[in-house]
C-alpha cells in the first residue's frame, strides 16, 4: 500500500495527476468530437450527393480503422507535416507537437465519428411534424435549427452520447503510446521502476473503473433532468 502513498516515495500523487490528465484529455477529445460531429452531421443528412459522400467517408473510415492507427498517423505524420511546413519557411530544426494536442485531436476525430452517427440518428428520430410546424410558424432556417431541432436532438442523444463518452474515456489509454503521461503511461512508468506490473496495472484498471462508474452516475442524473420535458 505504501507504493500508493503521496510524496517522494509513493506513486499516489503521480497517479492522481495522471487521472486528472486522463479526464482532461477525454473532455478535450469529446469537445473536439462535438465540433467534428456538428460539421459532419449536416453533411450526412444533406441531400447533395457529394456532401453526403464526404460525410459518409468520414464516419466509415474512422469507424473502420483501429484507433491506434489514427493516433500513430497524427503523431508521426503530424510531426513530419509540421516540419515540412516549417522547412518551407526556412526552419530546419526538429519540431515536436505537444502530445496532449495530438492525443486529444486523434481521439476527438474518433469520438466525432461516433457522435456524428448519434446526432444523425437523433435528428432522424425527431418527429417530422416539428419541422413542418416550425416552417408553418414562419421560423427562419437557423432559428428553426437552434430553437426547435437542436434542443430535441441533444435530449434524444444523451443516452447514446454516454456510450460515446465511455468509449472515448477508454480510448485515451491508447495515447499512452505517444508518451503523454495519463493513467496508462504513469502505471507503465511505475511498473517499470518498481518491477511490480501486476499491482500498478490493477490500480490502473481500478482507476478506469472508478471513472466509468462515476461518469455513469453523472450521466444518469443528466438523463433524468433532461427527460423532464417529455
Amino acid at each position: 500500500m505504501e507504493l500508493l502513498s503521496f510524496g517522494d516515495t509513493g506513486w499516489g500523487d503521480e497517479l492522481f495527476f495522471a487521472t486528472l490528465m486522463t479526464i482532461a484529455v477525454s473532455i478535450a477529445a469529446m469537445v473536439i468530437g462535438f465540433v467534428f460531429a456538428l460539421i459532419f452531421t449536416p453533411l450526412k443528412l444533406s441531400k447533395n450527393k457529394t456532401l453526403n459522400i464526404i460525410g459518409n467517408c468520414y464516419t466509415t473510415i474512422i469507424r473502420g480503422v483501429p484507433e491506434l492507427l489514427v493516433i500513430y498517423l497524427l503523431f508521426f505524420g503530424g510531426t513530419g507535416a509540421a516540419m515540412y511546413v516549417a522547412s518551407i519557411f526556412g526552419y530546419d530544426g526538429y519540431i515536436e507537437i505537444n502530445a496532449f494536442i495530438t492525443g486529444a485531436l486523434a481521439i476527438g476525430i474518433i469520438s466525432g465519428a461516433y457522435s456524428t452517427e448519434v446526432f444523425r440518428g437523433a435528428i432522424l428520430s425527431i418527429d417530422k411534424g416539428q419541422f413542418e410546424a416550425s416552417k408553418v410558424l414562419g421560423l427562419k432556417k437557423n432559428i428553426q435549427f437552434y430553437k426547435v431541432i437542436l434542443p430535441q436532438m441533444l435530449r434524444l442523444s444523451i443516452p447514446n452520447l454516454s456510450n460515446v463518452w465511455q468509449i472515448t474515456l477508454k480510448d485515451t489509454s491508447l495515447i499512452s503510446v505517444t508518451g503523454l503521461v495519463e493513467i496508462m503511461r504513469q502505471s507503465y512508468i511505475a511498473a517499470g521502476s518498481t518491477r511490480d506490473p501486476l499491482f500498478f496495472y490493477s490500480v490502473a484498471a481500478v482507476l478506469y473503473l472508478i471513472l466509468t462508474f462515476l461518469s455513469m452516475k453523472i450521466i444518469n442524473k443528466l438523463e433524468v433532468r433532461y427527460k423532464k420535458g417529455f
Binding site: 473502420g64 480503422v65 492507427l69 500513430y72 513530419g80 489509454s173 511498473a191 473503473l209
Partner: protein, 220 residues
C-alpha cells in the same frame, strides 16, 4: 510503396489469426457468461455481472498489460505449467482479447435471451419438451439469430482491438506498419496502407454478417 506490401500482408495474416482465435474463445466465454447472467442464483448472477462490468469498464490496453506483464509477476504461475502459455505474447494477446470480447458477447447474448418471447418457452413446455432441449433447440438458435447484427459490430470492434497486440511486440498488421514507419520514415505510406487493409477487412466482415442476416432472417 509496393515494397512494403509483403510485410504488411504477413502482418494481416497474424491479425486474422488473432481475430479468429479470440472470436472463437470469446464466443464460448460469452455464451457461458450469458447463461450465468440469466441464472436466478444471485451469487452466480453477480459474479457474471462483475466479470462483464470489469472487462467493459476498463480499456483493452490495461487488460492486455495486466495479462502480459502482470501475470508474469506471480511466482506461482511462473513455476506452473501455464508459464509455457503466458510467456508468449501471442497467447497473452489471445487470452486478453478473448476475455474482453467474451464480456461484450455475454451482454449481447444475454439481451437476446431476454427478448425471446415467453410464448416460445411456454409452448415448448406444454408440448412436453424437456428444459435442455428447449434451451439448445429453441433458445440458443433464436438468440444467435437476434444477436447477429450486434455481434457483427463486435467482430469489427475486435478487429480494431487486435491492433493493440502490436504494443506487446506482436508483428500483426499494425506492428508491421510501425516497423515500416521506423525503417523508412514514411509514416503516411505505412499507416495509410495499413488503414486501407483494415478498412477492406472491415468491409468484408460487414458484408459476411449482412449475408448471414439475410440467410437466417432477422425475426423475433
Amino acid at each position: 510503396m509496393i515494397s512494403i506490401f509483403p510485410s504488411l500482408l504477413n502482418g494481416t495474416v497474424i491479425t486474422l489469426k488473432l481475430l479468429v482465435s479470440s472470436m472463437f474463445f470469446g464466443l464460448l466465454i460469452g455464451l457461458l457468461f450469458a447463461i450465468l447472467r440469466i441464472n436466478k442464483n444471485p451469487i452466480i448472477n453477480k459474479f457474471a455481472y462483475g466479470y462483464s462490468y470489469f472487462f467493459r469498464g476498463t480499456p483493452l490496453l490495461v487488460q492486455l498489460y495486466l495479462i502480459y506483464y502482470g501475470l508474469a509477476n506471480i511466482e506461482f504461475l511462473r513455476n506452473s505449467i501455464l508459464w509455457v502459455i503466458i510467456r508468449e505474447p501471442y497467447w497473452c494477446a489471445i487470452i486478453a482479447f478473448s476475455l474482453n470480447t467474451g464480456a461484450y458477447t455475454s451482454e449481447i447474448l444475454r439481451s437476446a435471451f431476454q427478448t425471446i418471447k415467453e410464448g416460445y418457452i411456454e409452448a415448448a413446455k406444454s408440448l412436453g419438451v424437456t428444459k435442455q432441449i428447449t434451451f439448445f433447440k429453441i433458445q440458443i438458435p433464436i438468440a444467435i439469430k437476434q444477436s447477429l447484427p450486434a455481434y457483427g459490430n463486435e467482430i469489427i470492434l475486435m478487429l480494431k482491438g487486435t491492433s493493440l497486440a502490436s504494443v506487446i511486440t506482436i508483428m500483426d498488421l499494425m506492428g508491421e506498419a510501425r516497423k515500416v514507419n521506423v525503417l523508412t520514415f514514411k509514416p503516411f505510406e505505412a499507416f495509410i496502407t495499413a488503414g486501407i487493409i483494415y478498412l477492406f477487412l472491415t468491409f468484408i466482415i460487414h458484408n459476411i454478417v449482412k449475408y448471414l442476416e439475410k440467410i437466417y432472417g432477422f425475426q423475433t
